[in-house]
């Protein structure tokens, strides 16, 4: 019997950043920028289909009775990518194919004029 290792040598070192990790990183950045006056949260749960995951990036205003605005939602399978990303403020859909693409899409959504207007409107009602 052969004892040769057929597995790729670098397999154990390979790693993909999950969509949730990317979203949580953005959650942390947002909360730091807003001094927790507005709070970002990633709400994750299983989808209706086997092996489906859904994440919602929600902006809440604790001082406005915890009012929340869903900024976007991501849906993916066990394969992680591609991810279906929906800008929930503008009803626009994207399908980034990898983590690099996902970061580009998120940046695009965060910089959108309508999204910024919504966040500024919310913050202006508090401060």
């Amino acid at each position: 019997m052969s004892t040769e290792n057929l597995w790729p040598a670098d397999l154990a070192d390979k790693r993909v950043t999950t969509p949730k990790e990317i979203l949580v990183a953005q959650e942390v950045h947002f909360n730091r920028m807003m001094n927790n006056v507005l709070v970002a949260t990633v709400d994750s749960y299983g989808g209706p289909n086997e092996g489906e995951f859904i994440h919602r990036l929600i902006i809440s205003a604790p001082s406005l009775g915890n009012y929340s605005l869903t900024l976007l939602r991501c849906t993916h399978t066990l394969k992680l990518y591609p991810v279906k990303v929906i800008n929930q403020v503008e009803s626009m859909q994207f399908m980034p194919k990898d983590e690099h693409d996902l970061k580009l899409v998120l940046g695009q959504i965060f910089s959108s004029e309508v999204v910024q207007r919504s966040i500024v409107a919310l913050k202006s009602q508090i401060i």
């Binding site: 709400d43 749960y45 989808g47 209706p48 289909n49 859904i54 919602r56 902006i59 205003a61 406005l64 009775g65 915890n66 009012y67 929340s68 605005l69 869903t70 939602r73 929930q88 403020v89 503008e90 009803s91 309508v114 207007r117 919504s118 966040i119 409107a121 919310l122 009602q125």
Partner: protein
């Protein structure tokens, strides 16, 4: 002190100037306290002028941060009694909190149309909204929730009935059991009174709220996309008899040749009453 009867009306006006104009007349004529207009492209100020033509009864209940929605809420309640708690495209939730009466969450939906979403997509999205409502209820610390609006699904479709989605049943007594356990998880029911309004023998004056004659082998013509879902904790506040699918406004019929007159809107308006109980001190 007695219960407070809050009459809620909603209508998908299909961006129609005629329907938008009639909506104000309907609200005044039917004694609506809280009016929700879906696909309303008119400026809220225009609607307020119409609603307050004779006396200043209505206020506009603005959104907090959602700027590009065409769902608008007008109410006889001051803004402080009807505050937004969650907003996203196609889903708005407000905390209705009248002094000395039990508060409740009013969720308003306008789910994607069958023109753009396949049945599977609609069911999947309904599941997400179901989860969103559960998570909102956890944060609000109560389950006194009513969901209204244009679901773009009939009451019998999986997205409306499935335990992970809206979990809305036709039987008030089953809904009163509060939850059902599926695969070890408890799922709270909604009661969906709209089942009783289908067809010529239904409770309504029309056979549904939406009419769509499709040239395909399976065509049911009438649909009930506009629905009211009530959590068990609010069932004592809701009488089935208060729910009305309106077919006439100011003597003008919204039907033509036994169909919905789409020159007004392709949907019919719906109203119902919630008798809000006195809050425990």
């Amino acid at each position: 002190m007695s219960d407070f009867a809050l009459k809620i009306g909603f209508w998908n006006v299909n961006k129609s100037p005629r329907a938008i104009s009639l909506a104000a007349q309907w609200a005044l004529e039917a004694g609506i306290d809280l009016l929700v207009l879906i696909e309303c492209t008119e400026q809220p100020a225009f609607m307020l002028q119409k609603l307050n033509d004779n006396a200043p009864y209505f206020f506009y209940s603005p959104h907090f941060a959602l700027t590009n929605t065409n769902i608008h809420v007008f109410s006889r309640l001051r803004e402080s009694y009807s505050k937004p708690v969650l907003e996203e495209s196609g889903f708005l939730a407000r905390d209705i909190n009248l002094p000395l009466h039990e508060s409740f969450t009013l969720a308003i939906v306008h789910l994607p149309s069958k023109l753009y979403y396949r049945d599977e997509d609609q069911n999947s999205y309904a599941h997400e909204i179901g989860m969103l409502i559960n998570s909102l209820e956890k944060r609000r610390l109560h389950k006194r929730t009513v969901v209204i609006g244009d679901f773009n699904m009939d009451p019998f479709e999986p997205g409306m009935v499935a335990s992970g989605a809206f979990h809305a049943v036709m039987d008030r007594h089953i809904a009163q059991r509060k939850t059902r356990t599926v695969k070890g998880h408890d799922h709270t029911f909604f009661y969906n009174p709209m089942w009783g309004y289908f067809g010529s023998n239904g409770r309504g004056k029309a056979n549904g709220t939406y009419f769509y004659p499709k040239a395909t082998p399976v065509c049911q013509y009438w649909h009930i996309f506009d629905q009211v879902l009530i959590r068990p904790d609010l069932l004592d506040s809701f009488a089935d008899s208060s729910l009305v699918i309106h077919t006439e406004i100011g003597g003008q019929s919204l039907l033509r040749e036994e169909k919905i007159d789409s020159s007004v809107s392709d949907h019919l308006p719906v109203s119902f009453v919630l008798n809000l109980k006195q809050a425990n001190p």
